[in-house]
Structure formats: structure tokens, C-alpha cells
Symmetry: C2
Subunit: 192 residues, 2 copies
């Protein structure tokens, strides 16, 4: 029972991540992945129940971190929730930028699948938190632009190391989010 040759499972996963990152989930065939690994398509399907299973395993890490972030935020309100959401999402995006990048533009359809249904709810709560205590339409637009910009952009920062990208994104987040609604009357106009 020594289960020799542990090579393939991890190799296939890594190859799938590489191909997905370049050509996207839909744009990558099982044949492409098999070619990258150097085995048959059937071998890929021997180790994984299907193409979806491959994606699910690849996204397990970032998804669990996203769920943790959601729980953490749900215990907070107002500016504290906003700050935690921004910092948490930047951390997640930097750490898992490869995984996020491979979902480029396929969020709508992938999220429609039952396996990822809860992600949709979480992302909505994330935007709500990032919108902050202001709650106005401008704040919501800012939150959405930030979220989408980080998610979409972080995959293209392959040349920037984590320890430089994180503070850069955090700085952007601090600037873009509508942080305070001092009086009830809308009154934000100072900046930096």
C-alpha cells in the first residue's frame, strides 16, 4: 500500500493552474493540460473526477480564506468592517493572485454553478462592507471598482513581489474607499 509515484496528482494540478492562468478555464481543454503534463487526457480524468473538480481543488485555498474573511467581517460594522474588508481582500488577492487570475472574466458563469453559489453571496457582503458607513451610491461604485480592479489587475502584477504589491494595493484601497460620513449631510471633499 505504498502508493508509489505521487507525481501525477500534484503535477496535473500545477499544469492546470498554469494553463488556466494563460488561456482561462473555458479556454483550456483537458487535452491542453494533459499535453503540459506529458500524459493522456484519460490520465487527467483518472486523477480528477472532471474539469470542474480540477478547478474546485485549485480554488479550495482561496475560497476557504475568503470564507474566513467573510466570518471576520460579519462580526464587525461600519468603518471597522470596511477596513477589515479592504485589508483582508488585498491580502487574499496578493496571496492567491494566480488563482484569481485564472478566473478572469469567468466569474459570472462559474458563480452560477451550485458549487460556487455561496461565493456570490460573500462577494456581495464584501462589497457592502467596503461601501462603508457612508452607504451612498458613490461609495458603492468606489467599492466595486476597487474590488474588481484588484481582482482583475492583481494577476498582471507577476513582476512585483508580494511584499511590495501588498502595501501598494492597500494604499490604493485607502485612497479610493469613501471612509467617513462625518455629518449626515454628504460632505467628502478633502483628499491627501
Amino acid at each position: 500500500m505504498i502508493r508509489r509515484t505521487p507525481r501525477t496528482h500534484g503535477e496535473i494540478l500545477a499544469a492546470a493552474a498554469r494553463r488556466f492562468a494563460v488561456t482561462g478555464y473555458k479556454g483550456t481543454s483537458l487535452q491542453d493540460i494533459a499535453r503540459e503534463v506529458g500524459c493522456s487526457k484519460a490520465a487527467v480524468l483518472y486523477h480528477f473526477a472532471g474539469k470542474e473538480a480540477l478547478l474546485a481543488e485549485l480554488m479550495a485555498g482561496p475560497i476557504s480564506v475568503l470564507c474566513e474573511l467573510d466570518e471576520r467581517i460579519s462580526a464587525l460594522t461600519g468603518a471597522a468592517a470596511q477596513q477589515a474588508a479592504a485589508e483582508g481582500f488585498v491580502d487574499l488577492a496578493v496571496r492567491f493572485r494566480g488563482e484569481i487570475a485564472l478566473l478572469r472574466g469567468e466569474f459570472p458563469e462559474l458563480l452560477a454553478q451550485p458549487a460556487f453559489a455561496h461565493i456570490h453571496l460573500i462577494s456581495e457582503r464584501l462589497i457592502e462592507a467596503m461601501t462603508g458607513p457612508d452607504g451612498g451610491q458613490d461609495a458603492r461604485v468606489a467599492a466595486l471598482v476597487l474590488l474588481a480592479g484588484i481582482a482583475e489587475g492583481c494577476g498582471t502584477f507577476a513582476d512585483i513581489p508580494d511584499e511590495e504589491l501588498r502595501p501598494a494595493l492597500l494604499a490604493v484601497a485607502q485612497r479610493v474607499l469613501v471612509t467617513a460620513a462625518p455629518p449626515p449631510t454628504p460632505d467628502h471633499q478633502h483628499q491627501d
Copy 2:
């Protein structure tokens, strides 16, 4: 020579735009479009040389505006170019948000096609302009997050009319862009 029944060409284009916006370019088949119009797939291919031709005609508007913006920016430098790039891109994104949305995540592959090769160069020049006179890595990150965030996010703001979305996005742009390199030349610092 009266060319009666002008119905189909425009109808097909509109139906394609609708389907592309929902399921993406790759995710929409000619059959889907034909079903939406209520004709055969062959009829779609009678009016358009192919699926790519459909996309090209849909994108002709935003692309020409993008080219104009590129020319306008190329005549400017520094903060003026940055401001023009931000405002111009926001205008473009708001006006053509439907068209931009249908490219969701398919930029990499579509831009790889020779027909759209110059778009890639333009978007790079746009980012360079948005990076601004500061030129540092943080400014570049900010520019890319803004560009990606607007492009990716604007398609989801279907419930916000143009005249509200534009100032909201402009406000985000003013906040997020690194507008000045403070120590060397204190030049411009107005805001809002």
C-alpha cells in the same frame, strides 16, 4: 434595388450584443444568437462573415473612440495627460459599458488576434498616462487597478444612469491616481 426588410442586420447585431453581454463572447454560440433573433444560424452567417466579424462591428464604436482618446493623450504629457486619460477613459467606459462588459475576461485572447493588436498598445499607453508624472511603482499599480476596475465594474452598473455613473467614477479616479510627486515640484494640488 430598394433592399427591403432591413430588419435582420441590425436585429442580429443587437441580439449578439445582448447574448455576448450575458454569456460572453466565447460562451455565446451563433445558434444562441440565431435563436434570439428568431432565424437560422445560416441567416446570421449570411449577414456577417463570421462570429469575429460580429464582434468587430460591435466594437467598432468603442475602438474608434479609444483611438481618438489615444491621439488626444499622445499630444500631452505629465499631469495633463494623466487627467485627460482618466476623464477620457471614464467617458468611454460609461458610454460603451455594454460593449466593454461583453469582453469580460476575454481581453487577453481577443487582443492576441491581429485585428485587435493595436488595442493592446493603446491600453499600455493609457496605463502609462494614468500612472502620471510620479512614475513610481505605486502609481502604476494604482493606474492598473483603476483601469481594470472601471472596465470590469462598469458593466455591472446597469441600474445607474450615465449622468450619475460618470461623476461617481471620476471621483474614484481623482482619489486613486497618484497625482503629484510631492517633494520635487509642488505643482498642482487642486482636487474634486
